[in-house]
Structures are given as C-alpha cells and as structure tokens.
Point group: C2
Chain length 120, copies 2
DNA sequence: CGTTCATATGAACCATTGTTCATGTGTTTA
DNA sequence: TAAACACATGAACAATGGTTCATATGAACG
C-alpha cells in the first residue's frame, strides 16, 4: 500500500519544479492571453477570413460582400458586427448604404503570417 | 406592383458588380482560406495559447504543462494532440516522459503579431 | 511478469457559435 | 408620409468543440 502523500501524481508540482516556476514567471498575464485567444478566435472562421481578405482589396458594402461570398445579407451583417467589435473593421454610412473597410494595418500582417504557415 | 425581375435584391449581383468581380478575382482559393481559418482556430483557445507561450520559453513534458496551467493531464494531452496535428508542436520521448516543443518559427511570429494588436 | 507512472484516447456532457428566419431601424424617394 | 431598400438584430436550431471521466498504451523497475 502506497503512502497517502504519493496518491497525488506529477500534476501537483510537475516533474521539473524549477522549469515550471521559471516558465511560470515569464508567462504574460492570464487576461492578456485570454484576450489574445479571443482575437485569434475571430480569425478562426472561414466567412470572416473571406470578408477580411475581400476588404484587404477594397472597401465594400454589405450586399456586395454577400454577393461575393454567395451568402445571406443577414449572415454577413452578423459577422461584420463581430469584426467591428474586435476593432478589425470600421464602417462609414453613405445614404442607405454602409461601407466597411479594414480598421488596422495589423490585420494585413496577421493574415500574411498565418498564410505563410499554411502554405508551408 | 413591382416587376418580377426586381423581386430579388442586391445580393444577386451586388450594388457594385465591377468591384465584386474585381475583388473576386483577387481572392485566394476557397480551400486556402479554409485552411487559414482552421489554423487560426487552433490559436483561438486560451489553453492552447498558454501552452504555446510556455513552450516558447522551454521544452516541457505533459505533466509540467498541466502543473503550470493548473489543469488535468488529460485536458493538456488532448490539446497537445491538436497542436501536433496542426504541426505547431513536436515531441520527443525520453523513457516514460514525452517532451513537447515548438515545431516552427512561425508560431513565434504569429503570436507576436496578435499580441501587438491586443495591446493596442 | 506484475506494478507503477507518464501519457494517450474514446465517450459523454455542457457550453459556445454560425446560420436562418422573422422583424426592426434608418434613409431615400415618389 | 408611405413605400422601397440597405442594413441590423433577436430568437431558435444544429453543429462544433473543450473538459471530464474512465480506461488503454507503453516504458521502467523491482
């Protein structure tokens, strides 16, 4: 019969406590990593990626994007709202029409870096 | 009563057919954009982001990562499998222990670019 | 060999999310 | 001001995904 103290396994302190504590001290704040994951989550959808790539080329209105992607205006509008909340796109009103464009140069960079990994 | 041909709205050809067709011709292949979204989906989870940031600092075994993040060995192992399938991490066996490390320099770059956007 | 320990994996569960459908808002124009 | 149009939004539904639990693999060690 094993000792009571050895019932718990390596997960308590890890096999290499020194490494665990050293790496732990260099980790960014919990909240920062959460926000970073939330950002990538935005990029993690085909429809939104397509929208961003389209806006990379030209400012566009909602129904143009819907037409381009062969999707519903409603579906596109929902996604644009998400992209706007993440500050990845901005919009401008002209009469009845609303034009969307990229909000930030970072979008281009992130897309480009990701693409490089995909294309091996 | 409106003409039958005007029942369908702008989504058919868009408001600016010229822009739609021009942008359409510059879009990467459907499959490429899908793969790109799949890649970002991997980064779009707190646990996986934490694992990647940890491995950025040092090679680690499964139970060390579990200990560092205060999570189950099983949960970490599942996530490591996903990261490995995406070719973001690689592993090496040493006796009973399996050490994981980053597979690619792109990981560092993508994380860095995303972080810059998060920190405004 | 049989046990122990580190890791892997399959099934189940719960939460999250993207699309659709119906409807609401806001702007132009007849 | 009423109709038409571009866009926004809320609720509902189906699908996806992360964690847990139980169990399987695989290697060291007595």
């Amino acid at each position: 019969m094993t000792d009571v103290r050895s019932v718990e396994h390596c997960e308590e302190q890890g096999m290499h406590p020194d490494i665990v504590s050293r790496v732990g001290s260099t980790m960014p704040a919990e909240e920062t990593l959460y926000d970073l994951a939330e950002l990538f989550k935005i990029f993690g959808d085909s429809t939104r990626i397509k929208i961003l790539y389209a806006l990379l080329e030209s400012e566009m209105c909602v129904c143009d994007i819907a037409s381009l992607l062969g999707m519903t205006q409603s579906a596109i509008s929902h996604q644009l709202r998400i992209l706007k909340q993440a500050k990845l796109v901005k919009n401008r009103r002209e009469g009845k029409t609303v034009y969307y464009s990229l909000a930030d140069g970072h979008v281009h960079t992130v897309l480009h870096q990701g693409m490089e990994h995909v294309q091996e």
